[in-house]
Symmetry: C3
Subunit: 160 residues, 3 copies
C-alpha cells in the first residue's frame, strides 16, 4: 500500500493458549507479508515468553508467589474457554498435532526466525517480579512508550 | 478521509454473547457509514455463525465432541461476565427485548443484508471439525492471509 | 506521520481491574505523546467509570439487580485471571503500591487531567439501567456513531 514497510503490532495481554496461538498466527502471517511486526507482551501475556525451566533468580516472596501460580511458558497455558481443568488444552494440542499445525512453542520459534520483535513490558516485570533471564532469549524489554512508537506507525494494531 | 471506501475489520475470536453483540453492533454501524466491513471469525467465534440445527455431517469422534460441547449458534452463547449458569444471558436477552434492541440473530441478519463480509477461519474449521454446511449461508471461508489482506487496508481493526 | 494530531481510541468492553489498568496506561501514554485519545466504555467497561457511592436514583427492579451485582467503580473490580475470590486484586494493588505505580483511580484522574475523552455507551446505560449521575463527572455519553467517528480518523484502535 505504502512505499515503506507496513507495520503490525499486537499487545498480548492474555496468557491463554488459544489467544497466544491466535496472536502468533497473525504475527507470523503479517511477517510473511513482509510487515514489520511487534508483539508487546504485558500482564499475563508475559507468561507466554517464560522459559520452561526456572533459572536461579533471587526474588521477594510476592515475586515467588506470582512465579509459582502463573504458568511457566507456552506448554503450561490454559484455555480462555472449555479449559475443563486442563483437558481442553490437551485436546487442542492433540488436534493441532493431528492436523500438522505448528504448536505454540514452534510458532514462537518461527516468529523469532522471521524477525518478529518480541517485547516484554518492563512495568509488568517489575510488578510480577519476573526477571529477564526467566524469559526466552532475544526478548526485548520495553514500556508503553516503545509500544506506542511502533503502533502509531502501524495500520494493524490488535489487543489480544 | 480518503477517496476510497474506508475499511473496517473485526477478528471475532470470542464465542460469548456479549462480545458477539458488541462486534456486530460495531460492524453494522461501520457498514451504515459506508465502510467495507469484514468479520473474521476464528476459534470460539465460529460458534456464533453455526446454524441452530445440526445438519447431518460425517465427523471423527473429536469433531463430534467439540460439536457437542461448544454452543450451537447465537442463541446458545454464554456471557463473558455474570454468566451465572445461564441466568445472565437470559437477563441480557430480556432487557434487550424490553428496550427493542436487536437480538444477536437479528444483528447477524442485518449484517448480512448490509453486505458485511462474514468469514470463517479455515484452520479453526479443520481443528474443531466444523464443516461449511454447519455454518450460516453466505459465510465465506478464509485464512489468515485473507484477513491480513483486508486488515492492512483498513483503519479500524479490532480483535474481540 | 501526519500534520494533524494523531488519534487513538480504545473500546473498553471489559470490567476487570487488570484490563482497565492496561487501557488507561495506554491511553495516558498516548495522551502524553499528544494524541487525541478516546476511551469508549461499553458493557462491563462502564463499571470502571461508576462512582464509589451510589447516588439516589430511581430504577426498575432489573436495573437495581444489575446495579447491585456489578462492581461499583474502580476499587471493586476483579481480575481477568488469578482472581482467586478477590485475593488477586488485593495482591495486584499491593504490588502496584509497593512499586509506586499509579492505582486505577489515580490513572483515571490523570486521564481526565490530560484531556482523555471518556465516553459511556448510551445503549449499555439503557440496557443495564445505569444513569449519568452514577458515573464520574465529565464522562460524555455517546453511541457507536460517535465511536466510529473517532476511530475512523485514528491509527491506534484497540478493543479491550
Amino acid at each position: 500500500m505504502t512505499e515503506q514497510k507496513q507495520k503490525t503490532t499486537i499487545v498480548l495481554f492474555s496468557g491463554e493458549l488459544d489467544k497466544a496461538i491466535a496472536a502468533f498466527i497473525i504475527a507470523n502471517g503479517a511477517a510473511a507479508y513482509d510487515h514489520e511486526v511487534t508483539i508487546f507482551t504485558t500482564f499475563w501475556g508475559l507468561n507466554v515468553l517464560r522459559k520452561d525451566r526456572q533459572p536461579t533468580v533471587k526474588k521477594g516472596w510476592l515475586g515467588k508467589v506470582f512465579g509459582w501460580v502463573m504458568p511457566r511458558g507456552p506448554n503450561k497455558l490454559g484455555l480462555s474457554n472449555l479449559n475443563m481443568i486442563g483437558m481442553g488444552p490437551k485436546m487442542i494440542k492433540h488436534v493441532m498435532k493431528k492436523h500438522n499445525a505448528l504448536s505454540l512453542p514452534q510458532l514462537i520459534e518461527l516468529a523469532q526466525e522471521m524477525g518478529v520483535k518480541l517485547v516484554a513490558c518492563t512495568m509488568t516485570m517489575d510488578l510480577l517480579g519476573i526477571q529477564q533471564k526467566e524469559l526466552l532469549d532475544d526478548v526485548e524489554l520495553g514500556g508503553v512508550a516503545a509500544y506506542l512508537g511502533d503502533a502509531s506507525e502501524a495500520r494493524v494494531n490488535l489487543f489480544i
